[in-house]
């Protein structure tokens, strides 16, 4: 271990995050490696190691001969300060080598609030921030992940973006890089060739022009590259890589358990949900394979907890059978199975009860909106009866705490819809009074609201976010409407959602804002301790841009959206149709009920979704 590092570690919090050496980390002989990939996660170790995508791509790349993928996380600011003082550049955990010495530097971008960390990590690695300043083939800086469905705010800094499932395209990119390196290609040659790969967007090969009002006039491909880049998908989940043998951190992380991925995509079509659209179509993994992966993962890791993960776990067709298949092993080994993302329907509750076996962890439901009218607008096909029925089963089964999630500021929301949130909570308390087995300990109903952020590639991508003043008024209205002592109300801090709304639908001009904000000290924006709205406001004024233009403006149907160069496979025409149905209060059936022609089926070989 580097002596300088050894000296600073005693002074920082949780030093185990910075030394690697965990069980199942991959160390290779450098003499047998010709492509070194630094897999960067722009947040802390605890968050990054909890990410299944990181584990999949890490395992998959390290199975490739001659490729060594290592992990890099954002140091917490105490460590960063020590590293800068000791002049230790950002390093990868496995080898301890500086990130600047790697061939490819890939960022996993799950959320916009991590954007400044990307700049900070490049800077800590002593790598020039701007793609244009990096003139050589090595290193290539790339990014993937859900936040890349609008890559434009990062277009100045990243050489290429990989859209959609990363398994296949990452391997193709590595093969292409290897060829380019062997044949002495220039960086330009490599990027031009990379742009031919499906799912790869090279921002420097597209020119963006603007109207006087600040909206995008045109996105023009150069050099004959394709006008739209469509995301990649894994065709067959049964043949996709699953990290059975994966790193077990020696220190506690957020998601400290086995994560078993049941399927990708979602049949539901909630109109606000970006994940629900961009991960389409649904692709299931077979039950028997999952049972095997689950048991092998538990055996290999020694974990005593496993999460069955997906966007909507109760929509996995053989869920009951899967649980049956895992149950014997889990019971014998005292392993706890957890099922997040369950819908508030009867079936889920019965299953939850079976799995809980006396352990009553909190129950969380997400009705998202208070009134049936508004739930129809957002296509959350859940009725109050469903919810109360689920609560009844829970209370009868001995639960006495329920959390309810809602959003404020959804399109068409009125004060009545907000008051209805308080009513639902009161009805839940009433249900408890009627059905609870044991009333001695009382009941806690927690209502949480967040500030709705319109996201690209959703039916609400054209909508305005309500202003901060209006959001705060609605929070106050809901506070005043909640009269029951058993109901507690928590609301999400408003400022981060505002910046999220700005960045998620920003254009290329935001690159300057990002850089300015970062230079003024913005980093770790996803963390309340570090996020400061004033820094960002200063950065916007310095760049002559108005954040409200991005957050609070309604887009017209014919506006060129900055992310229109990217396709998730779901057609814009479908999204617009969904928006219109939202305003009519008309619901759209889920994919299992009826195909609504979103277009994602065209991504599947054979053109038919696995619903």
């Amino acid at each position: 271990m580097d002596k300088r590092l050894e000296r600073i570690l005693p002074r920082v919090q949780k030093p185990a995050r910075y030394v690697g050496g965990e069980y199942r980390q991959v160390v290779k002989d450098k003499a047998e490696v010709d492509v070194r990939f630094a897999f960067c996660f722009p947040d802390t170790y605890e968050i990054g190691m909890s990410n299944l995508g990181v584990r999949i791509l890490y395992g998959m790349m390290n199975e490739m001969p001659g490729v060594w993928c290592e992990r890099v996380f954002a140091p917490w600011p105490d460590m960063e300060e020590e590293m800068r003082r000791a002049d230790i550049p950002l390093y990868a955990l496995e080898s301890g080598d500086a990130v600047g010495a790697f061939d490819m530097i890939g960022f996993s971008l799950g959320y916009e609030m991590a954007f400044t960390n990307v700049l900070n990590m490049l800077d800590l690695a002593h790598i020039p921030l701007h793609a244009a300043e990096r003139t050589e083939l090595t290193p290539i800086v790339l990014a993937g992940g859900t936040a890349c469905y609008n890559p434009e705010p990062l277009a100045d800094f990243i050489d290429l973006f990989s859209l959609g499932d990363g398994e296949d395209v990452t391997a193709e990119l590595i093969a292409l890089y290897r060829k380019g390196k062997a044949e002495g290609w220039s960086k330009g040659q490599f990027l031009r060739a990379a742009a031919e790969l499906d799912g790869v967007y090279v921002p420097s090969l597209y020119d963006v022009t603007y109207h006087d009002d600040g909206t995008v006039a045109a996105i023009t491909p150069r050099d004959g590259v394709r006008p739209t880049v469509t995301k990649r998908i894994v065709q067959d989940m049964d043949r996709a890589y699953f990290p059975v043998k994966t790193i077990v951190p020696s220190t506690e992380i957020v998601n400290d358990r086995v994560t078993l991925e049941l399927f990708r995509g979602c049949i539901r079509g909630c109109r606000f949900c970006q994940a629900g659209y961009v991960y389409r179509p649904v692709r299931n993994r077979s039950k028997d394979l999952l049972v095997r992966y689950g048991i092998e993962s538990l055996q290999d890791s020694g974990y005593q907890e496993m999460t069955l993960s997906s966007l909507s776990t109760s929509d996995y067709p053989p869920l009951n059978d899967l649980c049956d298949g895992l149950m014997d092993y889990c019971e014998e080994k005292k392993i706890h199975l957890s099922l997040p993302s369950l819908r508030a329907d009867n079936f889920s509750m019965e299953l939850q009860q079976r799995l809980a076996r006396g352990r009553k962890v909190g129950l969380t439901f997400a009705p998202e909106a208070g009134s049936q009218r508004l739930r129809d607008v957002i296509n959350k096909n859940l009725t109050e009866d469903d919810l109360l029925q689920s609560c009844r089963i829970a209370f009868e089964g001995g639960w006495n705490a329920v959390k309810l999630y809602f959003m404020l500021g959804l399109p068409t929301e009125t004060d009545e819809d907000i008051v209805d949130i308080a009513k639902i909570a009161a009805h839940v308390v009433h249900t408890w009074r009627e059905y609870a087995q044991d009333k001695r300990r009382g009941v806690t109903v927690t209502v949480s609201t967040s500030w709705f952020v319109p996201k690209p590639h959703t039916a609400f991508q054209w909508e305005a976010q309500i202003t901060k003043e209006e959001y705060e008024r609605r929070v106050q209205l809901l506070r005043d409407s909640i009269r029951t002592k058993s109901v507690s109300y928590k609301w999400h801090d408003s400022d981060t959602s505002f910046l999220e709304a700005v960045l998620s639908r920003g254009d290329r001009r935001l690159g300057r804002v990002l850089e300015t904000a970062w230079r003024k000290g913005a980093k770790m924006d996803a963390w309340q301790d570090y996020y400061r709205l004033e820094t960002w406001q200063d950065a916007f004024s310095a760049c002559g841009l108005d954040p409200a233009f991005y957050a609070n403006r309604v887009r017209t149907k014919d506006e060129v959206l900055p992310w229109s160069v990217i396709s998730s496979g779901v057609s814009t025409a479908f999204l617009w149709r969904e928006r219109e149905r939202a305003y009519q209060g008309v619901t759209t059936p889920d994919c299992r009920g009826q195909c609504s022609g979103c277009g994602a089926n065209r991504l599947v070989e054979g053109g038919k979704c696995d619903v």
Binding site: M1, E6, R7, L9, P10, K14, P15, A16, Y18, V19, G20, G21, E22, Y23, Q25, V248, S250, T251, E252, Q299, D300, S301, G302, Y303, Q304, K333, K334, G358, R359
Partner: protein, 220 residues
């Protein structure tokens, strides 16, 4: 069912695994090796195991002990190899055996502290340090369990101490009290900083070398 003890080494990156994380790591090590150790009774059963003398984060050791109970009969001869397959880097089980001696017989810890002097060891350091620790009383500030500072006289807690000058470092060999109360050898640095600031080392690394009983014999 038997009470067993593991002798293990903690070095390299594993030095930075905290006590609680190390307990979790061992729980998983047993499960990885296909062993199920005894769990507590009650609503939230947890594995019954204890680390005999927790090692401060960042220090290395070749003599750590962990006690546990098993539900099944285990072959102590094969246990280390089985557990080592699942170990993170720097953690290595050396031996497994029946825990015969009670932990209360553990009295002293032998350790080596290496004091780094980047600009070379200042002249006369060995002698000055020897004098310092020969004083009848030496008060340093120590963090208490409640995270505030308390004055502690460390002299009664040091049974033996000697210094050896090398090129850019001084090696201090200590035997200190293990428990009730124990002394973290790194605290000699605090004493030097307070009393002999000119001899303050740039860095101290500590390695625990042996656990001893009251008579000075190896405790295992």
């Amino acid at each position: 069912m038997s009470k067993l003890r593991l002798l293990f080494e903690k070095d390299g990156p594993a030095r930075y695994i905290s006590h609680l994380d190390l307990m979790r790591t061992f729980q998983r090590l047993f499960l990885r090796g296909g062993m199920f150790i005894k769990h507590s009774k009650g609503f939230h059963p947890h594995p019954v195991m204890s680390i005999v003398l927790p090692l401060p984060v960042g220090q290395s050791s070749c003599c750590e002990l962990l006690d546990f109970e098993t539900e099944q009969e285990l072959d102590c001869a094969v246990l280390p190899a089985l557990l080592n397959e699942g170990c993170p880097e720097g953690l290595r089980v050396l031996e497994a055996y029946e825990a015969a001696r009670p932990v209360r017989e553990l009295a002293y810890v032998a350790a080596e502290a290496v004091l780094d002097y980047d600009g070379g060891v200042p002249g006369g350091a060995g002698a000055r340090l020897t004098e310092l620790f020969a004083r009848p009383v030496l008060i340093v500030q120590k963090k208490t369990k409640h995270k505030d500072l308390a004055d502690v006289d460390i002299i009664p807690l040091i049974r033996e101490i000697s210094f050896e000058e090398r090129a850019d470092e001084i090696a201090a060999r200590l035997v200190v009290s293990a428990q009730n109360p124990g002394l973290n050898p790194i605290l000699i640095g605090a004493a030097i900083e307070k009393e002999l600031p000119a001899y303050r080392p740039d860095f101290i690394s500590v390695r625990r070398t042996a656990l001893l009983d009251a008579a000075g014999g190896v405790f295992r």
